[in-house]
Symmetry: C2
Subunit: 307 residues, 2 copies
Amino acid sequence: MPSELSFIDRIRRRATLPRSSRLILGIGDDCAIFRPPASPIDLLFTTDLLIEGTHFLRSTHTPEDAGWKALARGLSDIAAMGGDPRFCLLSLAIAPWQTDRWVDAFYRGLLRLARRESTALAGGDLSRAPQAACDIVVCGDVPHGAALRRDTARPGDLLYVSGALGGSALGLVKGKRDPHAWKRHTRPEPRLSLGRFLRHSLHASAAMDLSDGLSLDLRRLCLASGLAADITAPPRFPGATLELSLHGGEDYELLFAVPPQTNVPAGHQSLLLTPIGVLRKGRPGHIRLDGKPLAALGYDHLRGGFR
Amino acid sequence: MPSELSFIDRIRRRATLPRSSRLILGIGDDCAIFRPPASPIDLLFTTDLLIEGTHFLRSTHTPEDAGWKALARGLSDIAAMGGDPRFCLLSLAIAPWQTDRWVDAFYRGLLRLARRESTALAGGDLSRAPQAACDIVVCGDVPHGAALRRDTARPGDLLYVSGALGGSALGLVKGKRDPHAWKRHTRPEPRLSLGRFLRHSLHASAAMDLSDGLSLDLRRLCLASGLAADITAPPRFPGATLELSLHGGEDYELLFAVPPQTNVPAGHQSLLLTPIGVLRKGRPGHIRLDGKPLAALGYDHLRGGFR
């Protein structure tokens, strides 16, 4: 099996976008962008799988956790593009072990986050399956042409991350012995308010969410923009090692770039915004940490592990 | 586990639609309907799971068949509302047995139908999983307010079906010994042109696609419109029994209602349009076949079988 990046490249080459589709952006960013005719908005679409054994474990995640996380992953993609979520569609494959009560609690966790973020559950599909899985599609919107993308950074732009990294990966290692990290892992917080701020007030030149680890996700942003990057160590979640902060997935913080003259505040609401480096001309996707090459060791969904 | 109908009802009651969501229609029809601000169109969204062992078998379905069918199911929902498909998003959970070559052929089958129906592949998600599954979201559009729905039929409206029923279920029984029925099962044809004709020229009062068997799907239409129905036997696919034509799933023909004075042609393109009965006031969802009560025996996705 090829790596995820090369596989997605191959599909993208084969999936042409007919003009009639009204798609502004297709495969390869956090969301696809659709432009309705004569409307002042662009629509954002993202889809995320949540699979038993891969994204959650029935032994450790409560059904409420799984429902929350299923939606949070999609909302994080909407946040990364600076959007407001509108609605979601949920496809649920129900395994024999999943009781009526489990499924009810799953919906409870999902709908709790949905209500908080004014996201309607608009429909979906249901099926029996040998293995529990769900797929969630979230639709959001931004003003016409205003979506934050990965492919629009310029050389010299400064790189920032929100919050502290490695917490979710630490939670996965420590489990409930570290309740703070465990909560980061099980109840990720989509950075919707920050995303809107980046689009509306800061005019970020590029953004994406950190779902698969900084080293891999930054590489994706660099490849999309055709740039290289020099960074220093990002802020670490309390207790997380440097390794976890660089390569651990599922932090769902935002990575963004701004032109060098931008006045970036030290924080947004209670979330720290920390400069971690600069984008530069060079071999696309090449990243140096404190001057030394940094391998993209984040989570590859096709190879099914940290590379 | 409750039945699918009662389960969906329960979710619907809990999933409120905030006004900010711009949703015209949520859970319970073939598609959700979203109204972009200031635009002359409404957008339709549908999502369909395709699961190994439930919707396809690796031993009998080619990967091209599976890819075709994954998209055809969604396109059929767009057809049922009279829409034009625009784009789709594909989430793919890849099992250990699925080779690079299998996945390539799956995309080939899907993209072949996508190109024919001018449907762009706009994005998706990829993951490793113990079991092969995919979920596909299709977005289509209709002119503002023109979508065909299930809940808008009136007493006295006549009921019609397109084509002949029971072919897909017959294919499942006979396999490749009946190549004609087998093709109906493996390569369903979404009735997009007919759907547009029903909306634009015939002004159908209600429509839906036949995915789970006439007896169950007609019951859903009747429940949504608050009506009962009297029908006669529908046209049968060559070789199909009456039982298969009434309760067999996955025909993906259209079931529709028209006001009694409507001039319905005998066919649309090469597809027969056959009157099968009439909607009437009465216990909602109650259906009589030739005067005798007809049980809804179609496929229930939660109970995992024909009831």
